[in-house]
């Protein structure tokens, strides 16, 4: 008699093996990051120094802040390609306001508010015409960049007062301000996603938007709010970036949307929506930051650096798919 036998080898315990696989899959990002950190510490004397680590954190902080909004959007099963353009838009608008004599705090708040309107538009069009945000924000990306170039005629806005430098280059308790901003925004973001009805609505809508709508959630409102938050965060990043550069350049943030999306995906958020964590995103951002930093320290050919980043993203995506299936 023939049998369709696929019997499990009696020597191994399938349950505990499964648990180990599962643990490794769930924590692979942390494990690999730890290995990377240890190897870099051994390979380079300059890696594990306060100065270098601070440097990495400050470098990643800008995109990390935008990634908070992007994580929410991807959990919502949407995408936002316009974040880089909003960065430039805000940098320019804020610089022009300050030059026009508007006090820096007022200019900052106004710029963030105006930037968030771009998100309101993207969210509204997405929700009310029932379009995928990929299409809407693809258009918005070009549109906002165009508006930004038009405002400045293509030139950077420079000649900003020295006080403005503090915003992006200052320190608090010895820590660069961008790192402080990042930390605060992550803490608030994690709280919102975990504890508030708004955060829970984001997960539910991303998981099944029709079920969420039929449960009485205001799906359109949540979508618009999430796009507005992301645009506001992008605007804020544009301001601190222009403060560090002491100029509002319309060229800022080009192709940032891809870096930010990559960090979110590396951090384990599913493009299908409904699942993902901000802590994961932060680790994703750090991963890219550490890898880039390490490759610079080890003097890796810049072209090869791109190859390595590409492999990292590919690996993370495959890992997430394995995780989903296990």
């Amino acid at each position: 008699m023939t049998t369709q036998a696929n019997k499990i080898n009696p020597g191994t315990d399938p349950v505990s093996l499964k648990l180990v696989t599962r643990f490794l899959l769930n924590n692979a990002l942390y494990v690999v990051l730890a290995i990377l950190v240890v190897s870099l510490t051994i390979l380079s004397d300059n890696f594990l120094t306060t100065a270098n680590l601070t440097n990495i954190l400050r470098q990643v902080s800008f995109q990390a802040i935008i990634a908070v909004g992007m994580t929410m959007i991807i959990i919502l099963a949407q995408i936002d390609l316009s974040v880089g353009s909003v960065v430039a838009f805000a940098a320019v608008v804020n610089a022009l306001m300050i030059k026009a004599g508007i006090p820096i705090p007022v200019a900052l708040l106004l710029t963030v508010a105006i930037s968030s309107l771009w998100g309101v538009i993207s969210g509204w069009v997405t929700a009310y015409f029932n379009l995928h945000a990929f299409l809407v924000t693809l258009a918005m990306m070009t549109l906002i960049r165009g508006v930004t170039y038009t405002i400045t005629g293509g030139y950077p806005v420079s000649g900003l007062p020295m006080e403005f430098l503090q915003l992006g280059s200052g320190y608090f308790a010895g820590i660069p301000l961008p790192i402080i901003y990042m930390a605060v925004i992550y803490i608030v973001g994690i709280f919102v996603m975990k504890k508030t009805p708004f955060g829970r609505a984001i997960y539910a809508i991303g998981g099944n938007s029709e079920a969420a709508r039929l449960s009485g959630l205001n799906v359109s409102q949540v979508k618009i709010a999430v796009f507005a938050i992301t645009a506001a965060l992008s605007g804020f990043v544009g301001i601190i970036l222009s403060s560090r550069l002491m100029a509002g350049s319309p060229e800022l943030g080009i192709s940032w949307e891809l870096d930010v999306i990559a960090a979110v995906i590396i951090g384990g958020t599913s493009m299908f929506g409904g699942s993902g964590r901000l802590v994961g995103t932060l680790v994703g951002v750090l991963f890219v930051g550490v890898l880039t930093n390490g490759m610079i320290l080890l003097d890796v050919n810049p072209y090869m650096q791109q190859v390595a980043k590409g492999l990292l993203i590919l690996g993370a995506v495959i890992l997430n798919s394995l995780k989903r299936e296990s």
């Binding site: 036998a5 609505a201 997960y203 079920a211 449960s215």
Partner: protein, 500 residues
């Protein structure tokens, strides 16, 4: 010795170390319609998936006409002569009927391009044998559920199947369409095809099946001739002990609290008026396409309601979204719990709390304890069978998923609960638990609108019955002295009850 058409024996299958099939057995003769019954979790679906090679068995043997089969995937099984029509359709909505029928094995011209003429002709020929008026060029999106079913069968026939497996084919069909389907099945079996028929609708079996195999908890229990297997015997075998079916008893209901007046939506329903009493179960039945689901969706604000008025406690209310419906104390349990009821990848707890996020928050946050308490009490009260509240909704059986959907609406403490096909596709045990829940809720004063295609269910459970046909109410009244025949009569009537 003649070998049977299909024989599956000694089949074992485990998922993550949990045994779902143990020493399973099934034997089908040519021309036999063989019913496969069992409660949810009995292993029917897994057995079918093993036979169609959608899953690989851990061990065991499948023989087709005396030869051992070793298919690696459903396509190979189809080519060998075993096809399946699943409860969830596998048709591609935007393709034509003919393209769907020949998906993956379309006729080719000598230049290896698709031979459209041949494909249309062959599709037409298959549809003709099914005596179906469906056009091969029709786009599947515009077909009714019953028509899609026929296309699924045609797809199976296109492989010249010897064995056709039908998983719950009648669960979403009206009585009339069920009869049409049975006619098709009988003619196929007359041609020597073996049909494995999975159904929860035990009443249907004597009409159609020759033999019945019963499964329970992943084990083969018995095979009976249909004549030896009245419903009570089958149920006894399925659940291990017998469940008595209660006749409806007339109950006292409270005053009217909800009224709908002259609701109309062009092409869907027209001139619908009715009221709901506190503590009443109002059954709405009718044939598929009668406009029942469309009516309640509009009432709940899930779809627009172009014309008509709604009154709550005598006061006119406007419902433009599910959100407003919820605010007015109305809950809606959709007929499609997977697509519209649950966030499948989220936990039971998250699903239950979804409707009350705003209500249970304190300040800005949702207190964890409130949330846990609510979901735990629902799990206990509704007997949701699960490990704990963190278990994902997708890992529950159909009946338990339905209970989660009911729980999330009970959490809102609704005054009016609309349930669209609340027991569709779930096993007998879970069904009776859900009926019990309906009774309890109504005794607490909740008004319930229950849509059902199963007429016996409507008769047993409802206090009053509305029958709809072609978007109109053709009957509305007490279910006392109402028979199944009368309901069918109203369901096929074209005289509006209001006009009469």
């Amino acid at each position: 010795m003649n070998s049977p058409l299909l024989k599956a024996s000694g089949i074992n299958k485990q998922f993550s170390g949990v045994s779902v099939l143990e020493n399973a057995f099934l034997q089908v003769e040519p021309g036999e319609i063989h019913a496969l019954v069992g409660a949810n979790g009995a292993g029917k679906s897994t057995l079918i998936k093993v036979i169609t090679a959608a899953h690989q068995a851990d061990s065991g043997q499948i023989m087709l006409e005396g030869e051992a089969l070793n298919c690696r995937n459903p396509k190979q099984a189809s080519e060998a002569g075993i096809s399946a029509v699943y409860q969830e359709f596998s048709l591609i909505s935007d393709l034509s009927v003919a393209e769907n029928i020949f998906l993956g094995h379309s006729p080719k011209t000598s230049r290896n391009l698709i031979d459209w003429k041949e494909m249309q002709a062959k599709a037409q020929a298959i549809l003709d044998t099914l005596e179906s008026p469906i056009k091969p060029k029709a786009i599947v999106r515009y077909l009714s559920v019953a028509e899609r079913q026929i296309v699924e069968i045609a797809k199976a026939l296109s492989y010249e199947s010897k064995v056709l497996i039908m998983d719950e084919p009648t669960s979403s069909l009206s009585e009339e369409d069920v009869q049409k389907l049975f006619k098709v099945m009988r003619s196929l079996s007359a041609k020597g095809m073996g049909i494995i028929y999975v159904s929860h609708r035990l009443e249907e079996l004597p009409q159609i099946a020759h033999k019945i195999s019963v499964y329970r908890d992943g084990r083969y229990i018995t095979t009976l001739d249909i004549d030896d297997a009245p419903k009570s015997v089958i149920i006894e075998q399925m659940v291990g002990n017998s469940i008595s079916v209660q006749a409806h008893q007339k109950r006292d209901v409270g005053p009217t609290f909800f009224e709908a007046k002259n609701l109309s939506s062009p092409g869907k329903f027209s001139n619908i008026s009715f009221e709901v009493h506190e503590g009443e179960i109002l059954g709405i039945t009718g044939l598929a396409g009668a406009g029942r689901t469309e009516l309640v969706r509009a009432l709940f604000g899930a779809d627009p309601l172009p014309a008509g008025e709604l009154f709550l406690d005598g006061k006119s209310i406007k419902i433009k979204s599910p959100r407003q419906a919820k605010a007015n104390g109305i809950g809606f349990i959709s007929e499609d719990r997977k697509e519209e009821g649950l966030v499948l990848d989220h936990s039971i707890g998250d699903n239950i709390n979804l409707t009350v996020l705003e209500r249970i928050k304190r300040g800005l946050i949702i207190p964890q304890e409130t949330e846990n308490k609510l979901s735990n009490s629902m799990i206990t009260d509704l007997h949701i069978k699960c490990n704990n509240r963190q278990q994902l909704a997708k890992n529950l059986s159909g009946g338990n998923q339905q209970k989660v959907v009911i729980a999330k609406w009970m959490a809102t403490k609704p005054r009016l609960l609309i349930m669209d096909e609340p027991t569709r596709g779930i096993d007998v045990g879970a069904k009776s638990q859900i009926y019990g829940l309906l009774k309890t809720l109504s005794q607490e004063g909740v008004g319930i609108i229950m849509i059902s295609s199963e007429i016996p269910e409507v008769l047993e459970q409802s206090d009053r019955v509305i029958v709809m046909a072609q978007g109109q109410i053709t009957f509305c009244g007490d279910n006392e002295n109402l028979s199944q025949d009368q309901i069918l009569d109203y369901a096929t009537s074209s005289t509006s009850f209001n006009a009469a």
